[in-house]
Amino acid sequence: MAMEKKSKWMAALKVILWLIVLSFAIAFLISLFIEDDFESLDGNVAVIEITGPIVTSDDGYLFEDVASSDEIIKLIRKADKNDGIKAIVFEINSPGGSAVASDEIAAEIKKVNKTTVALVREIGTSGAYWIASSTDHIVANRMSITGSIGVIASYLGFEGFLEEHNVTYERLVSGKFKDLGSPFKELTPEERALFEKSLDTINDYFIDEVAKNRNLNRKEVERLATGQFYLGVDALNLGLVDELGSKDEAKSYVEKQIGQEADFVKYKTQKGFLGSLSDIADEASFFVGRGIGSAFFAKAESPKSIRITA
């Protein structure tokens, strides 16, 4: 009886040992798929990258580097909530993008009660400059490209192509502006005026924001808002940036502001393997359900496909 009991405990022990090994193996495998921003965040200065076109959501940009306002706002809030983080540095390498996304990020930066610095690397134009201007201090490389204050909503028109191929656009709309911006028909003067009015309004917001953020005269910013880009060195003379330099200069500024040594820590959300798989699955299901052809057609036809970018 005692022997039988002993052998039972031995069998149980074997199962336990086997399960311990299996648990560690599975935990290790899962850790390989965990997203980057889950790493332990030691350091007192958060570095948030703004790389690539600025968009509101990164859905549908599986293999492209984009700066999604959804993700960036999340990271800003995370850094702001963390008492150990004393300052946030935005490492910018973006040509701009969605005006809405840029405004969302800029507004979030202004809510932060910590020192904020923009470090413009290669490029920080348009919407990316809008974001940079909302920080306390802008550091740019002397050769980096910045500025380009202005908005754009250009698109390709296919009306000539359709006509050439004897394809007609059957216009069936309930309101005269319902298909405003359809690439299959030419803009009427009235439609063009409407479009330009909207662009002017957004441009005014952009100029107002830059003037307010940079303590510049509105007239002066208006003069600069031709869409022209400026090299870092010119931008400094025009008051669009505060300092020429790189990460070291940004670090020195932060250290002066927080009164302690700056230890940079990257805050970023990099899609893990599972996240990427789920994105592929989402996109696949979407297109399977809708039909690839019709999805393309609807996207091209819908006025919503026109993006106003800054």
């Binding site: 199962v15 399960l19 648990s23 899962i30 798929f33 965040l41 789920s278």
Partner: protein, 164 residues
């Protein structure tokens, strides 16, 4: 004169609810040590907080963390099910049951894999299996042989061994 020493005899009877609860607690402690421990680091890196409300808010804002947490929950659940299935398959007991002399008994001859799985499916962290956490103990109180619903479905029961 001939002396007669009665040898001990083994009897099998219905397991008491209290002993079953005791055995389950012991098993949960073991699972906590051998299965949950390796995942502790992952939990801490995904949820950088110990406050429930903060964790909830964090998961609400971060869908990626929620997905990862679900993956970990399912892995833990699968390993816990394996714990019960392997133990009961090999020795018809778990360490908890061994301490209280409890055994799993099938209606037929041997415990089959499907029976072992159905017995443990309350550990699957998804609807409707989570309902078994409520239904199983209630069923235990109202059935003749103190059977959980999972046991009725798997045609198994837990018995207690006495030696007199």
């Amino acid at each position: 004169m001939k002396s007669v020493i009665a040898s001990k005899k083994t009897f099998v009877a219905q397991a008491s609810v209290l002993k079953r609860i005791g055995a389950f607690i012991v098993d949960l402690v073991i699972i906590n040590i051998i299965i949950l421990f390796p995942f502790r680091g992952l939990f801490e890196s995904i949820l950088p907080t110990t406050s429930f409300s903060e964790a909830f808010e964090f998961l609400r804002q971060d869908a990626g963390a929620g997905t990862m947490l679900n993956a970990i929950m399912f892995a833990i659940s699968a390993l816990s099910i394996l714990y019960f299935m392997l133990m009961e398959k090999k020795i018809a007991q778990t360490p908890g049951k061994m301490l209280f002399s409890l055994y799993v008994k099938p209606q037929g001859k041997d415990l089959k894999n499907w029976q072992l799985f159905v017995r443990s499916m309350f550990l699957i962290p998804a609807f409707p299996f989570v309902l078994l956490w409520l239904i199983d103990p209630i069923a235990m109180l109202f059935t003749k042989e103190n059977q959980r619903l999972s046991e009725i479905l798997s045609r198994t029961k837990v018995v207690e061994q006495y030696r007199i």
